[in-house]
């Protein structure tokens, strides 16, 4: 008696399904890898940038205090969160309770880094913010505050709940902009 569906047919179907899945998967993964954009890392708890930057309308450097001062923008210490959240309770209060717990127990919040450059690159926030705000002010004929400049590389942080990398941040990306704006292209500007 012959089987209704032959073994050969099943093997062919399974093979086609596998190949198709693989192809679609690669189609999604490869462009991201080429663009140097990696999955958003999992944070210890959700930090709603939207609430802080859009609803509360805080400047970026209210928390990232050193962005317009020196190289690292710096992620704030728990102390700075508690500065507001000692009193202000956001949402249903579960997240702010975690912040207060961290403050009471003296444990830092282990934020995962979203934007990571290779170890051989020394990126400075301050000159970028200074020069870009000057250029944008001249272009638009009005005063530009540092927070408006950040979106150039970090995207519109105020409109997203979870920040993710939006630019490739590869060397070609940097150099293209540096050439266009007549910024330093000496290797030792960034690599040392």
């Amino acid at each position: 008696m012959r089987a209704l569906i032959s073994d050969k047919f099943i093997i062919v179907v399974v093979a086609i399904v596998l190949v198709a899945t693989f192809a679609v998967g690669m189609g999604v993964v490869i462009p991201k890898v080429l663009a140097n954009i990696y999955p958003v890392p999992e944070q210890p708890f959700v930090f709603p940038h939207q609430t802080h930057a859009d609803v509360a309308a805080l400047d970026c450097q209210f928390c990232h205090r050193n962005a317009d001062q020196t190289n690292a923008a710096t992620v704030p210490a728990v102390e700075q969160c508690v500065f507001c959240h000692k009193i202000i309770t956001g949402g249903d209060g579960t997240i702010t309770a975690q912040v207060r717990d961290a403050w009471d127990t003296g444990q830092p919040i282990t934020w995962a880094r979203v934007h990571r450059l290779p170890d051989t690159v020394r990126f400075w926030h301050e000159p970028h913010i200074r020069v870009l705000s000057d250029l944008m002010s001249a272009e638009q004929g009005r005063d530009i505050i540092p927070s408006e400049v950040c979106a150039t590389c970090h995207g519109d942080v105020a409109s997203v709940k979870q920040v993710e990398q939006v630019r490739t941040l590869k060397m070609a990306d940097c150099v293209e902009c540096h050439r266009a704006k007549n910024a330093p292209t000496d290797c030792s500007t960034c690599h040392y």
Partner: protein, 246 residues
């Protein structure tokens, strides 16, 4: 190539041999500042230690009239550097502010530069750097940790130069003479190492290079070193000294 800073600087170092006591504080400071690998016994045996700055010691005279002579040697940042044209990938080049730059991420480790370097100041990374666990957090975040297979050398603390330039740009002022110095010069207890801008006529180094004691290491090779040495002053000196290295 647009230079890293709008300033027209030519960074240089003057080494006053008369002041050097051979204490090695500069060597220690350099190791700490630049994340230089800690040497072990095997590295010494194979001659593969890394010291971006070293103190060469010479004995002068016969016992009991023996004098120790010290000579701090580091990358001379030559104006006509022999190491630069031999690099097949342009990993080492001369920046417009007078520094011989080593770009770690370009280097492919041919070691041609070290072969062509008359001062023995370039070092190859034969091993991945390993630090004792307790020292992991002591690494300087401003300086790249060099991995296995690439060349490294004295950068004249270019990270400090860039930091000083950017801080001065932010505050809208000039860099003051003496405000900026590499780790070795900062650690030198006798002030033997002096760092500054040769293009600034009022800087300390500009005056020192005009001293009659000034000379450059292996000047006859035509490398045009950017580092200037000031001769030892010795009233008892009689004629050519017999020098034994080591």
């Amino acid at each position: 190539m647009v230079r890293a800073s709008e300033r027209d600087s030519k960074w240089s170092m003057v080494v006053d041999i008369d002041r050097c006591s051979g204490c090695q504080a500069c060597v220690i400071a350099c190791h700490a500042e630049n994340n230089i690998k800690l040497p072990d016994e095997e590295m010494y045996e194979t001659g593969r230690t890394q010291n971006w700055i070293r103190i060469d010691r010479y004995w002068e005279g016969e016992f009991p009239d023996v004098k120790a002579r010290f000579l701090p040697v580091f990358c001379q940042h030559c104006g006509n550097a022999p190491c630069e044209p031999v690099c097949p990938v342009y990993a080492t080049y001369h920046s417009l502010d007078g520094l011989n730059i080593q770009v770690y991420n370009r280097c492919v480790g041919t070691r041609f530069c070290a072969n062509n370097d008359p001062y023995n100041v370039r070092f190859f990374n034969w091993w991945e750097p390993i630090w004792p666990d307790i020292m992991r957090n002591y690494l300087n975040p401003d300086v790249t940790v060099r991995s296995k297979g690439i060349m490294e050398k004295c950068t004249m603390c270019v990270h400090r130069i860039r930091r000083a330039e950017r801080t001065a740009d932010r505050d809208g002022r000039e860099i003051n003479d003496g405000e900026l110095m590499p780790a070795c010069a900062q650690a030198c207890p006798t002030g033997s190492l002096v760092f500054g801008d040769l293009n600034d006529d009022n800087s300390k180094v500009s005056h020192m290079v005009e001293d009659e004691r000034a000379y450059r290491l292996l000047e006859s090779l035509g490398t045009g070193p950017n580092v200037v040495y000031l001769k030892k002053v010795d009233p008892e000196y009689k004629g050519e000294a017999v020098k034994h290295h080591g």
